[in-house]
Amino acid sequence: MLALRPSRFMPALRFVLALLVVGLIEVPGAARQTTTARSPENASYSIDARLDPVNRLIYATGRLTWRNIAPVPATELRFHLYWNAWRSPNSTWMRERALAGTPVRALRDEDLALIDVTKLALAGTAPVDLLPRARFISPDDGNAEDRTVLSVPLDRPVAPGETIDVDMSWNAHVPRAVSTAGVIDNTFFVAQWFPKIGVLDANGWNCHQYHAATEFFADFGAYDVRLTVPAGWIVGATGKEVSQTDAGSGATTHRFVERDVHDFAWVTSPSLVEVRDRFAEPGLPAVDLRLLLQPDHRRETERHLTAARATLKLYGQWFGPYPYDHLTIVDPVPIFNEAAQGASTGGMEYPTLVTTGMRWFSPWAGTAPQAVTVHEIGHQFLYGVVATNEVEHAWMDEGINTYAAARVLDETYPDRFVMVNRYFGGLAAWAFDDARWTRIVDGDRLNGLRPFASADSLTTPTWKMRPRAAGVISYNKTALALHTLERVVGWDVMQRILATYYARGSFRHPAPDEFYAIASEVSGQDLTWFFDAAFRSASSFDYRVESVTAIAADQTAPASPAATTISTVVVRRDGDGVFPIDVRVTFDDGSSVTERWDGRERSYAFRYRRGAHVKTVEVDPDRVLLLDLNYTNNSWTAQPHAAAAADRWTLHWIAWLEQVLVTYAFFS
């Protein structure tokens, strides 16, 4: 064993090492690491982009500074070229949309998107041209016609910890609005528009093709983006605008910078209306709000801002503070004729920028724009800060966010919302005051779950799920499962689970097991059974009261006032999912008993020998298991009112049918 002799240079060396740790000395290759960096910031971009609005083209150059933070060397680079998904009808994205029954209809040839990389080179004293060796790959489905992943083999692997600079140029054609990006008239919403490097982890490159039912996944970085657009056009983007300069030829260059983000989106239009506001709440950092509205929606400013403030406040209290001091909220062009205009770019999230969705005629009692505003701003926390893999585990952002957003709506707008349906081409709306919004049915989306309840489990990678089912499983099932968890452990514990998850997952890519582990740890109980039932299984849940029978204990004097009755209550598990539940039996003498059933057997009988008859039976009386698809069969009463209810609503239905008959017979 060697003895280490103290050196006279050791104190100085220790000082230098300490400075390095603190980050006061910049080391080449770690150019943007400062004391304020909260994320690894290993994928940073500096981009110059010019928009040609007439031809709907973007000409861009940029530099990617990428540091390999994985424990394995990178023998190749992989880039996402998302816009190539809308380049042809045979891309994976297009095929999956067709399979889901929602093909894109509005795209003519001139509306298609594309992104062509014209330069890709390793920067340095001897730049290496990487473009000739680049090739498209389809690691997910082998679709040779899908060009959304570009693989670039390297002569020399990038070692763990090593940093490289990659210079690139590209041209992109802005599509007609489709999914998350596009142009309608003069409003350009530009997202997923640059060659974005994939994520390298211990298992290699995590760089999926662009699928119809999933979104995006990237590493954190610092973005410095200069956008040149026609002078006088409003620009909103990720980050803060730090300068505007005259670019000549009637154009202006807007510079936006942001640290610790993993994407960059922007919008520009000559017609947006800008409103500025400020979120200020004791105990939470202030946030400058910038609302970019469609001209027709000026009067809806406060609805947007109220929702934004409520989200920042409640998410801030439940999860943790919003870590940026600004947020841009974009009201996109309303889509009232998707077949012609294209799909909405609303309802999406990008770091420090969200798109909402508003209609000109939106009843006050309807959820637009509040619901989408809350949801998308919620994504700033779940996606923006806790940057989970949306392609493989969409539930971790969409599902948790749907659950939390429903709670925000329920708390901020109690008894406010009703169902609103749109008529006459979607241009007129009617609020049905009787059909009230509830957190469980509408917020957590129970109704949408029913057709797909058994479609898949949350452990299936989202991109592998059936396109039609993926969204429902990720959003609805997760929200209902988490709301169930809230009822199992209580809100106080649930809130601490969320806060712990947020604190530990901030500026990282946490995996599902981390969430499960945190839930068990914080709750102080082993919740494996819960996650096995609700997350790791594709089973659906349906418990019901099967029968209630009563016989006299003494058959010789059954009608005697003192007669004892043997009542048998049979409860049944119709679904494949197993969940422990309570069964409450109430007797006509006012007494009640609550049984705990493990829910495992297909049916279970409870017997009671009493002087009273069973009056009501309730399976899951406190409605803990919100994944139970059919709640009507959860209860039984000795004095049913089904006939009265059926009569009442049938009379309303008769009036409706009479109107149908008289309306159509007008033309006879």
């Binding site: 008529y423 241009l427 509830t438 049913p640 089904a642 008959l661 007008f666």
Partner: protein, 342 residues
């Protein structure tokens, strides 16, 4: 037949008012049609009621549902229902139901098969009744039940033949004109539109064009039936031709009369917006208000038809209703002297 000083003036407003007068003094007809309409709904209503009661069973959910609309239960029911059960949604409630139906017609949305079947049967029923209704309104006096149904029988087959001519025109309107307006033209004009207000104006204009086309066909069919009954025509092709000539010679007034009647229906709809009962509240009140609205709609429809009859009778001198048989003079010297005054 002696000239009647009560013969209506052939002005649009006069005909409109006369139409309402004739409809008001024919309460038996109106109420009978109302009762028949209600009876038409009963088979499907009983079927739906059975589904609802079965689904609720002995559940405690019914305790709430018997008093208030329970959206959770209703969506659960509709999610497992087939066919007719899927029409049981909150869109049937109140004025929203009226909007939903109107929008469905104008946007050419298909009806649920069970409901479509009921509509076809009801349309056939209305065609059957049309002869009797027109006969009664043209006479402007009470008729006996057997006379009413005798007229229904006389004109039923004729009006079926007329429907064979009219139905294809409606089919063309819905299958060709509607897509032309609301797909081809609407899509082209909204492709780069960003303002919903503009889109609403545009779509409103297209609705007016479509409604105008529907109106013209409806107007043509209405006066064909009027002429068929008032002039006792057997050829429906000839009745259509006569109807077109009648409209062509007085286009502004016929259209104005039609629009005046449409306005009356819109006023009725506006009243309904005000009084349409909510889901909660006493069942008897909901039943009363909804049925009053249906009755009022039927009355307005009869007034519509009556005004067209009155206008036609007022316009054409020979169009005194000739259904009363010519008197047969008795054979006697005194009757002969009355018939031939010196």
């Amino acid at each position: 037949m002696p000239f009647s000083p009560d013969r209506p003036r052939a002005t649009v407003l006069g005909a409109f008012l006369e139409g309402w007068r004739r409809a008001i003094v024919a309460p038996v007809v109106t109420v009978s049609i109302f009762v028949a309409t209600l009876l038409f709904t009963l088979p499907l209503a009983f079927a739906l009621r059975g589904m609802l009661e079965t689904h609720l069973g002995q559940s405690m959910v019914a305790d709430r549902a018997q008093w208030n609309w329970d959206e959770g239960w209703a969506t659960e029911f509709a999610s497992q229902a087939q066919g007719l059960g899927r029409t049981f949604t909150h869109e049937m409630l109140g004025f929203g139901g009226t909007m939903s139906i109107s929008s469905g017609l104008l946007d050419a949305r298909p009806l649920a098969p069970a409901v479509a079947g009921a509509v076809v049967a009801y349309v056939m029923f209305w065609i059957f009744l049309s002869g009797g209704i027109l006969d009664r309104l043209a006479r402007a006096r009470p008729v006996r039940t057997h006379a009413f149904f005798a007229a229904c029988g006389v004109y039923f087959v004729r009006f079926l033949r007329l429907a064979l001519f009219i139905a294809p025109i409606y089919w063309v309107l819905f299958r060709w004109l509607h897509p032309l307006l609301f797909t081809t033209i609407y899509d082209r004009l909204t492709r780069d539109m960003t303002s919903e207000q503009q889109a609403l104006l545009l779509r409103g204009g297209l609705y007016l064009i479509f409604l105008a086309a529907l109106m013209l066909v409806s107007l043509m069919a209405d006066f064909a039936k009027v002429r068929a009954v008032v002039e006792d025509r057997r050829s429906m092709l000839a009745a259509l031709g006569a109807s077109l000539r009648f409209i062509r010679r007085r286009p502004l007034r016929t259209v104005t009369l039609y629009l005046l009647n449409v306005l009356a229906l819109l006023v009725l709809a506006r009243l309904w917006l005000q009084i349409a009962p909510p889901g909660w509240g006493p069942t008897w009140r909901a039943l009363l208000l909804t049925q009053l609205f249906v009755l009022a709609r039927l009355w307005a429809r009869l007034a519509f038809i009556a005004s067209e009859v009155a206008f036609f009778q007022g316009e054409l001198a020979h169009a005194q209703y000739t259904a009363t048989p010519d008197p047969i003079w008795p054979e006697s010297p005194s009757a002969e002297s009355v018939a031939r005054p010196r």
